[in-house]
Symmetry: D2
Subunit: 295 residues, 4 copies
């Protein structure tokens, strides 16, 4: 998607301004409209802050209407293909589109319970999650009281809006809406970076499914040329990095047991902060390995 | 099985002696008979050594007849239930009894090729293996020349015999036919053994099957009350130890991320020496872990 | 010292009983006398418990007299050689005998301040300490109020008594008055215990002095044949284990940089629990190492 | 020292050219003169390569005269203060200026033996060394035959020249004559960089002297704001990094033993490649630590 430069937005007439920013809040261009007069914005952060302030200053009914304008997660609109373009992409990214019948039924039931209790659909910033963490959040938030849940829903709306805004507008600054996952392999038997080691990253779900996200090989510095995940929030989920350690040492001519004591090393970890930097290195010899959350 | 004391064997008449030891070599009581006159044996090692010497001193045709007296691995006799009691138990231990149709077909084909090439059935000490390592050995040994393979087959016959002998005879000494697998969990965040941590040990096969062997919990010293595997050869195979690290730290009141960065730690390793001692410890904090082959 | 069996003590007449146990409390055989009638004692723990109860039940003036019967630490009696045999050995063990002039002056000053404040000499179980930790305890306890310090002094008297008692009496049980320090070296480059590695243990003092306690070599299992310290309390102090890693790897033919990246590895740690078990292993390759408090 | 830009050198007349580069080889401006006509040089590497080629192409007697023009290491000229400016700085950097009488006598003896054997003074690129490694090299090279040693001496002359050249000339490229030493501290108890930890770097000599090179504190990312050593060759020597681990954890409110099990962590390592990058991280909890050569 081509981004619109911030200075173009600052200079746009009403129609162009709303065309650019009217979709930041779901079916609610009024939020953009409310900040139009505050232009020019010196930074993307200033624009985002103004929109947040406008939403928080709005009357309770107007906020409620905005919440009610959201679609059900994994709901009828998703199945019918009538979501907004943004919602479609967001729900796809979290794996909510081709659900099993059992999962669909679970969402239908949770959505119904939630609407009955709170009067608006369950809203979560899907790009920050995977299916399991959405279901956990869903069940946890069903236990909230009305005020706490209204606040939680607005927080999610603002997370969604900041992500959309960061993707729509080109500015000198960026909103802190993305995370980064990286790795690094050190060969502790030979005291050097482990270059040329194959590895893969998979996302694991509670039902046992395993979604391979990346297959790559370390470079001469023992790192991957690109971060494993970047330029997006890191979905809250469990991951497994699997390294072909025996392949690496065999290629280097290091003597190994037959079969090698350590062949495929799986490092299993979970991400809890979608905007964080997770560095998950592997220090490895043919007979030992370590990992830790690095920086 | 009740063991017969070595001094009883030393004092037995011919019938009792052969009843006790005639099954050590498959359908070949002549090996036992050949050493009867050398009694008394001062140790089990001396008895085993005498039997090995008798086998190695026998004429080539007699050795060949002994090799030919073995059943096919995973063969018709196994399916028909007509194996000797020992062979049945040995083939069961290696998981060769309830094979899939594809695996059965693979064994049939390999057995036929092997018999055609060498004139006797493929013999391997099944208790030292799992299905994958037997198949690897099968294919590797099919490439041997006749002399090398005759020697390899005799070596396996002797491994089988020593294991049977160690199980049949009670003596002050033991033959070195068993291995040991153990673990130990240290809590590096708090500087103490990690007691009360749930863990499981599984054997992994190349086809993706996962056979859980042990589920247990660490004791106050961070060890398991009994070794994970002991009193048998360690099957050559890939294993995974999985530790419930987050459960342990949560129970101890240590603050964790939500979800915890480290929850289930899998340690995947392979055993190459069935008679070895494999100690596979876990040093773990909520944010880091290490493992190595210990002692 | 030859120990007297507990059953001999249980059967002894008054003179023999006091000859055996009258020195357990410094110049205060009345504590032993107070428990004589409670014989027979089923265990050393029961005897120790009875003596403790007798001391705690005694009148305040009697307890005070017992405290006052102790010599000054590193005081005039030590210099003059007029300490009891026990006190001499205890003060020697903590390195309080050949003090520098500056240290002597410091003790003189602290002893004077302490006596002036509390009316009895500073008592500490010297076998559980080194000079630095005694000085730290001295200064900390000078800040106590009278009741807290009377209690602290009695606790130390009982620690001294239990150590003396454990050394005097042979019984089926032992008092838990000893600690243990051990190590273990694993070669993570080759996946085996590091046997034949030279190492030394030194005690470090705040003034920079370094007292070598042990020089030894690891055995085939990577351990030392005897614990580094055992059969005594572990003095509260800072220690350094130094391992000749480069010598080990060079002897094994493992390629090393010139000079080796890792040659002498110092592991510096402190002991805080004299009755504890401290296991301080080294996991080492030519390019990496780890240590931790093990068990 | 202000560097002369390469394009100024390319355009300089003879006098200016020799003023700029005549000192690159000790008392031997003829090497610079020999390459003057090859100008312009497109890069510093090209200029260095031309000078090396000129030296290697020179007649044996001319090379010998150049070797003989060097001063003795730690010799009479150093003591008298009559070295060239470059030699003074180089010998100072390696700690050869204020030697003890014993060390001076050792150098006098080695210099005499070397000159008697080879007919020119011992030459070594002192910036790449510390006193101990120079003495080791001195004794090793005394065992060379004449041809091997002539080659070794020329190699050192070229190392010296490249370092001088890199310091004299500003160009878009740099010669690879510098190394880098860095560290990084990770808190494995809390899964974050260890910021605010005091540390020092010292160089250790075989005679027990300890030269503190850097005292600093880690930044928020657990690193030091500047590399520990950079912009110079890393002297071949043994080093110790000492980290105030207990101070860091105490400031963070992490419970510690009294005294802390781990207080000051010394990491002792040697540098063998002066132009290399040595990254020596510390992964540490209150009860465990690891280090390794990183990248």
């Amino acid at each position: 998607m081509t981004k619109t430069p911030l200075d173009v937005i600052n200079a746009a007439d009403r129609d162009a301004f709303l065309a650019a920013l009217g979709t930041v809040f779901e079916h609610s261009p009024w939020v953009a409209e409310a900040v139009m007069a505050q232009r020019p914005f010196a930074s993307l952060a200033a624009l985002a802050g103004a929109m947040e302030a406008a939403l928080r200053a709005a009357a309770g009914e107007q906020q409620l209407a905005l919440l009610q304008a959201h679609p059900d997660l994994a709901g009828a609109a998703a199945r019918a293909g009538t979501l907004t373009q943004f919602s479609t992409a967001e729900q796809q990214a979290a794996g909510l589109v081709n659900l099993s019948a059992a999962d669909s039924a679970r969402f239908v039931k949770l959505n119904a319970a939630y609407r009955a209790r709170f009067g608006f659909p369950f809203i979560v910033c899907a790009r920050r999650h995977a299916k399991d963490s959405i279901l956990r959040a869903f069940e946890r938030r069903l236990g909230n009281d009305a005020d706490a849940e209204r606040a939680a829903a607005l927080d999610e709306v603002l997370r969604i809006a900041r992500l959309r805004l960061d993707g729509l507008v080109a500015a000198p600054d960026r909103l802190k809406v993305h995370g980064r996952l990286s790795t690094h392999v050190l060969d502790t038997a030979r005291g050097r970076p482990a270059g040329g080691m194959a590895l893969e990253l998979a996302q694991l779900a509670a039902d046992g499914t395993r979604l391979t996200l990346v297959r790559t090989t370390t470079n001469a510095d023992g790192r991957t040329d690109a971060p494993l995940i970047a330029d997006r929030p890191l979905p809250i989920a469990t991951y497994e990095l699997v390294f072909d350690v025996a392949g690496y040492f065999a290629a280097a001519g290091v003597p190994l047991a037959d079969p090698p004591f350590i062949a495929q090393v799986p490092l299993r970890f979970a991400i809890a902060e979608p905007e964080g930097h997770y560095h998950v290195p592997l220090l490895v010899s043919p007979w030992s390995y370590s990992t830790y959350r690095g920086s």
